[in-house]
């Protein structure tokens, strides 16, 4: 087989992408070699099991994917505003909306949130790391190689083009031959392993590793949202795993689970997909709710209103999220009764969600609102999300949904919830906890620029799309061939570029703040307004997190600690701390599984089997691994703490 058989050729955009990928790759190689950073890269990052570093790697990858998905989005918007340019043809457009949707949900939103959880949750509960640090590294690398696999499809083999929902029979071997669809299946399968493992890992961490006496109902709300999310992950992801596996077996080994021939059941895919898919959207929204709650309470300088109700509403949402999947195909013709049931269950979700909105508003009541950048993102979320929420209820009214389904009304709705919910939260959380991660804040002025550009761009981009939907414009349409649709599409594209600008300013701010921001000296970065334990550690956080773990028996424990002058360093109580050793095994194991997946994508069975054997070998090796980690001596802890605290 020639290399030209697997490279995607003949397309200027793709040549451009190849060249830029090659250049970036070469530049990275050069920098690493020139500055002699290879060893540093390996021993500090690729082998790390430290939850904070893994979190940083998650967030960096997610930002990269936000960029990739954003470029996809811009290309689509250019095509839709200027259909006469012939910028993208049908096939291109189909590939691009598919990769855009998949990347944004699986490789941007989820890892971004998981990254924040990685860094913050152990700190919030007073833990020294995850319950299973090795597994945590494994999760990250499985996500990373899944992401890499999915992304190379652009230049090698061709991208999937059946939508992020990958409905059968379209996505089956008969109608979508070639490796494209396999990239989707294997990319998601590989990264799904990591998500599932993280779900279990965080669940155990939260349930078993809390500071002494911290009850479940003492936990910070972000930790609660993480715990609830973990339950959703653990129940939902196996469904995806099975569905992906069945479709892979269909495509690669010629089974007939979802095919038109051989009595297959194509609609079964839609069911399985959304049984995972709907809970999935709550996987990316509940942590966002948690972040907003933390940020709002902090900058309102007030206790979160209705803490218990907030927790219970998340639990109710999580339960309901498993009972509504049919609303994604009301139009399948399951009958009035089935549709009625799912219609009502869908609308019921609005109740706990509405309760949460009112609780946030009540938190602002009798508060002292300070408009910092994270607070701006969080405040902007409330009115924006309402617009997405009410249209969600409208979509839930099945009889009306027959007109909304598959139209731009739907596109507008889910971008309103995903961007105003998840993406705003990712930005809010990143800016909020940035000083914890990097030892300096992000510049506020640039941050506000980024915020306002993104915020305006967002509404200008997506609000008109509700009306496009009502005018009958279907989603996934590569050409706006109806004259009445054009003006609103142009407006929408302008908005998209506003968001693009906002993102650029945000990224520039990362660089700018790295150069010029004041370095943090205390751990309680936001003018001493921290409420939860993560602010009680010094900045940068020592790798063992807490020299001494505080005793917690209330919500917002750090407020009391500050009143009583307590810290996480009580010199006479310091004991040696047990820490896990760094190891390269997770990286290698997942690289091998990545190789196996790559082999399966092209149906090169030797490669697949080789990779699989290698991975199994790594697992066996792990079973005979007797490295129990090491102890940090008391002396070293004291030295580190004294230096960080300027004692």
């Amino acid at each position: 087989m020639h290399i030209t058989d697997i490279l995607v050729t003949g397309e200027p955009i793709i040549y451009g992408a190849m060249v830029s990928m090659a250049l970036v790759g070469l530049a990275l190689l050069f920098i690493l070699t020139y500055f002699k950073k290879w060893k540093w890269l390996w021993s500090e990052w690729l082998t790390t099991v430290d939850h904070k570093k893994i979190g940083v790697m998650y967030i960096l990858s997610a930002l990269l994917m936000l960029f990739r998905g954003g470029v996809d989005a811009m290309m689509m918007r250019v095509q839709l505003a200027f259909p006469d340019l012939g910028f993208l043809n049908s096939q291109h457009y189909n590939e691009i909306f598919t990769t855009h949707g998949t990347i944004m949900i699986i490789f941007m939103a989820m890892p971004f949130l998981i990254g924040l959880m990685n860094i913050i949750v152990p700190l919030q509960i007073g833990a020294r790391d995850f319950a299973f640090p090795y597994l945590n590294a494994l999760s990250f690398w499985s996500f990373f190689f899944g992401m890499a696999l999915f992304n190379i499809s652009f230049v090698i083999g061709g991208s999937p083009d059946a939508g992020w929902t990958s409905y059968t029979p379209l996505s089956g071997a008969a109608m979508s031959p070639g490796p494209g669809q396999n990239f989707y299946l294997m990319g998601l399968q590989l990264s799904g392993i990591g998500t599932l493992a993280t779900g279990i890992n965080l669940m155990v961490t939260i349930l078993k590793m809390r500071a002494p006496s911290m009850k479940l109902f003492h936990m910070p709300i972000f930790t609660w949202s993480t715990l609830v999310t973990c339950f959703i992950i653990v129940f939902a992801f196996p469904i995806l795993t099975v569905a992906l596996a069945l479709l892979t077996i269909d495509r690669v080994f010629g089974a007939q689970f979802f095919t038109l021939t051989g009595e297959g059941l194509p609609m079964m895919w839609a069911n399985l997909f959304w049984m995972w898919g709907h809970p999935e959207v709550y996987i990316v929204i509940l942590p966002a709710f948690g972040i907003f709650s933390e940020v709002i309470a902090t900058f309102a300088k007030k206790r979160l209103f209705g803490y218990h109700v907030m927790v219970w509403s998340m639990i109710v949402i999580a339960l309901l999220s498993f009972l509504v999947w049919v609303h994604h195909f009301f139009t399948m013709g399951a009958g009035a009764f089935v549709n009625s049931v799912f219609s009502v269950s869908t609308m019921l979700i609005a109740v706990p969600t509405g309760v949460k909105i009112f609780n946030w508003l009540a938190t602002l009541y009798k508060s002292k609102i300070e408009f910092t950048v994270p607070m701006l993102w969080s405040l902007a979320f409330i009115p924006s999300f309402i617009l997405g929420g009410v249209t969600g209820v409208m979509l839930g009214m099945a009889a009306a949904d027959f007109q909304f389904h598959n139209s731009y009304f739907l596109i507008a709705h889910f971008h309103y919830v995903l961007i105003a919910g998840t993406v705003f939260a990712c930005f809010a959380g990143l800016v909020f906890w940035y000083p914890k991660m990097f030892g300096h804040k992000m510049n506020e002025r640039l941050g506000k620029w980024a915020f306002w550009l993104f915020f305006f761009g967002f509404h200008v981009c997506f609000f008109p799309q509700y009306f496009l939907g009502l005018d009958g414009m279907p989603r996934r349409l590569f050409i706006t061939n109806v004259a009445e649709w054009l003006p609103l599409n142009v407006i929408s594209t302008i908005g998209a570029f506003g968001m693009g600008l906002g993102f650029i300013v945000f990224v520039y701010n990362v660089y700018y703040s790295f150069r010029y921001s004041e370095r943090e000296t205390t751990g309680d970065s936001w003018n001493g307004n921290g409420r939860t334990l993560e602010w009680a550690t010094t900045t940068p956080v020592p790798y063992y997190n807490f020299a001494t773990v505080p005793y917690v028996d209330e919500i917002d424990p750090y407020i009391r600690m500050k009143e009583e002058g307590k810290t996480t360093f009580e010199e006479d109580k310091v004991k040696p701390i047990h820490m896990p050793s760094y190891t390269g095994q997770p990286f290698i194991m997942m690289a091998l599984l990545g190789l196996a997946s790559f082999g399966l994508v092209f149906e090169w069975m030797y490669v697949a089997v080789f990779g699989l054997i290698g991975a199994v070998f790594m697992m066996i090796r792990r079973s005979f691994d007797y490295d129990d980690g090491y102890y940090v001596p008391v002396e070293e802890i004291k030295r580190t703490e004294k230096k960080a605290r300027g004692l």
């Binding site: 206790r303 195909f329 009502v344 109740v351 602002l364 309402i386 009410v390 915020f455 009502l470």
Partner: protein
């Protein structure tokens, strides 16, 4: 500082203004909000009914939101000591109220949703004083990327265009020869899926004569954008004349000709003096794999339908 806060306050109201503005002036133009038949009308009514609730919710939340931001911002001049209560953390009465009200709203939205859902399963009722007409049965079958409309009553078949009589319910029997698609004529009512190996029913009706846009609204590959058709709604007489004309003048749809048409790709508008229903039944389990098996090799080729880039070639 001051100016910044003012900006905040009004920004929240911006989208609301847009809603009012666009829904005010757009009402006449947007297809879904300009129904041409009883089915679309019932869906329109439901949408408008729900919009009132949604507007209500938006107004309440936006107002509360604006109030909180204005009144409780930290450096508002003239803040009083009593404007800050850091330990306020709950109030059962108010929490019960704001749980009950959404539940009531959900109930109020559910009732018309459910009744409309059940109504949509039956042919639309005739207007008061008019006779009940048997629905006209039309089999609407898709194959990548075209539409076949078979009229068993008239024994004719059209490709990529549709004629219907006004004031008579149409019973669409939807099916697909290959990929999943959906029949959507927004002016006449909402969509339903066409699936191979199954038959779904969709009732629609036109009250006004006219030409409406119909399309496949469920993405199904390269030719998706071009899988559209025009709907000619005309009075009973004109419809019958048209049908007779097709019956008498159009060529016969032979099994071979039909097979050719099924091959993945696009075709122009066509008419035939018989239906394909005698040859294959795509909605049965036996007929479900017919096209895929016949054209497996052709599906493997990327068709690169470059002609669909040119808008003019759309109907």
């Amino acid at each position: 500082m001051k100016a910044k806060h003012l900006r905040n306050r009004w920004l929240g109201l911006l989208p609301l203004g847009l809603i009012l503005f666009l829904s005010g002036c757009g009402q006449l133009e947007m297809t879904v909000l300009d129904p041409k038949g009883p089915v679309a009308q019932s869906q329109y009514d439901l949408i408008v009914y729900s919009l009132w609730f949604m507007l209500g919710i938006i107004v309440v939340v936006f107002a509360l939101f604006a109030y909180m931001l204005i009144k409780y911002r930290e450096n508002r001049p003239g803040r009083k000591e009593s404007d800050y209560d850091p330990n306020l953390h709950g109030n059962t009465t108010i929490e019960v109220i704001w749980t009950i009200i959404p539940i009531i709203i959900v109930v109020l939205l559910s009732i018309p949703t459910v009744t409309t859902l059940f109504d949509l399963e039956k042919p639309p009722e005739p207007a008061a004083g008019e006779e009940v007409k048997e629905p006209l049965v039309v089999y609407a079958t898709t194959a990548d990327w075209k539409w076949f409309f078979s009229y068993p009553e008239q024994d004719i078949e059209t490709v990529n265009y549709l004629h219907i009589p006004t004031d008579r319910p149409i019973e669409f029997r939807l099916s697909s020869a290959d990929s999943m698609s959906a029949l959507w004529i927004p002016a006449l009512g909402g969509q339903k899926y066409n699936m191979a190996g199954m038959m779904t029913k969709l009732y629609l009706q036109a009250d006004e004569e006219g030409v409406y846009d119909g399309r496949n609204s469920n993405f199904n590959g390269e030719g998706f954008a071009a899988q559209t058709f025009k709907v000619y709604a005309e009075n009973e007489e004109e419809f019958n004349t048209w049908a007779d004309e097709i019956k008498n003048e159009a060529p016969e749809l032979t099994a071979d000709r039909y097979d050719e048409l099924l091959a993945p790709g696009m075709t122009d508008v066509q008419s035939y003096s018989n239906t394909h229903l005698d040859y294959v039944k795509h909605h049965t389990r036996e007929g479900m794999g017919y096209v895929v098996e016949k054209y497996r090799e052709q599906f493997k080729e990327k068709l690169h339908l470059y002609e669909i880039d040119k808008q003019e070639s759309f109907q």
